[in-house]
C-alpha cells in the first residue's frame, strides 16, 4: 500500500514516463480512498496547464486592474 508521500512521487513520475501496470493499480487503489492525493494529482495537472500558458506568454501584460494603491510599487 502506497503512502501519500509515495503517491506524490508517482504523480510526478507519471508526468515523465508511462507508469508501470503495478504502479497504476496501486495509484488507483490509493486515490479511491484518499481525497488529499486525488486533489494533489489534479493540482499537478493544473500546474502543468498553468506553466504551458506561462510559456506561451499568456501570463503577463494584463493591464493591471485599477487598484487602490496598496503602498507598494
Amino acid at each position: 500500500m502506497l503512502s501519500c508521500k509515495q503517491v506524490t512521487e508517482v504523480c510526478s513520475a507519471e508526468l515523465e514516463r508511462p507508469l508501470k501496470l503495478g504502479e497504476q493499480m496501486s495509484l488507483k487503489a490509493h486515490l479511491m480512498m484518499c481525497s488529499g492525493c486525488t486533489n494533489y494529482r489534479r493540482q499537478m495537472k493544473t500546474l502543468r496547464q498553468v506553466m504551458q500558458a506561462y510559456a506561451e506568454g499568456k501570463a503577463i501584460g494584463e493591464p493591471p486592474p485599477t487598484e487602490q494603491g496598496d503602498g507598494r510599487s
Partner: protein
C-alpha cells in the same frame, strides 16, 4: 496584415525580461536574449501572419533563444549544486507528511479554484512568478527546462550528466514545492484561519 508597430513590440519588453530572468536567473544573459529577440522580431515583422497574437509570437522567438542558450550553457549547472540545492527538503517533507507518510491535516490538499478564471488576473501570475522564483536555483533551472521550454527529461539528464532517477527526483521536489507555495498564495489563502 495590419501594421504591427515597433512600439507594440517594445511594450512587451518588460514582460519578456521578467520571463527570461526567471528562467535564466542571470540578468545579463536575460537582457541579451531579450534584446536579440526583439531585434529578430523586428526583422521578421513582415512574416508575422497574425494567426497568433503578437505576444505569443514574440514569446515563441524568445523561448527558442532561451532554449538554445540553455543547451549551450547547461554544463554550467554543476552537479554539486544540484545535490546540495535543496537543503530544507527533509523539513518540507516533514511539514507535509506524518511519520507514516500520510498527509498532515493542515497541508492535506483541497480543491483549488478554477485555474482558467484565475489565470485572467494579474494577482495570480504575480503569485506564480514569486513561487517560481523561490525554487532553489538549480532545481528551478531543471524544472524550467522541463516545463517551460519543453525539454524531455531524458535530454535534461543527459545534458546535466545525472541519472534519470535523479532527474525525476529533482522534478518531483520542484513540483511539490511549487504546489505548496501556490497553495498558500492562491489555492486557499484563507487557510490560516482554520
Amino acid at each position: 496584415m495590419q501594421g504591427i508597430s515597433a512600439e507594440a513590440l517594445l511594450s512587451l519588453r518588460a514582460d519578456m525580461l521578467r520571463f527570461a530572468q526567471i528562467q535564466l536567473r542571470n540578468s545579463d544573459a536575460a537582457e541579451d536574449l531579450v534584446q536579440e529577440s526583439i531585434e529578430a522580431a523586428l526583422r521578421k515583422l513582415s512574416s508575422f501572419a497574425g494567426q497568433s497574437t503578437l505576444k505569443t509570437w514574440v514569446f515563441a522567438i524568445l523561448r527558442n533563444r532561451i532554449i538554445d542558450h540553455l543547451r549551450q550553457a547547461s554544463r554550467t549547472v554543476t552537479l554539486s549544486s544540484l545535490v546540495n540545492d535543496d537543503e530544507d527538503w527533509q523539513e518540507s517533507l516533514e511539514a507535509l507528511f506524518n511519520e507514516r507518510g500520510g498527509w498532515r491535516d493542515g497541508p492535506r490538499p483541497v480543491s483549488w479554484p478554477d485555474p482558467e478564471q484565475s489565470m485572467q488576473t494579474r494577482q495570480f501570475w504575480a503569485v506564480f512568478e514569486t513561487c517560481l522564483d523561490h525554487l532553489p536555483a538549480a532545481t528551478g533551472r531543471v524544472f524550467m527546462m522541463r516545463e517551460f521550454l519543453g525539454f524531455e527529461s531524458d535530454e535534461i539528464c543527459s545534458q546535466l550528466g545525472i541519472t534519470t532517477s535523479n532527474c525525476h527526483v529533482i522534478l518531483h521536489r520542484a513540483r511539490l514545492k511549487l504546489r505548496t507555495c501556490m497553495d498558500t498564495g492562491w489555492g486557499r489563502p484563507e487557510v490560516a484561519s482554520c
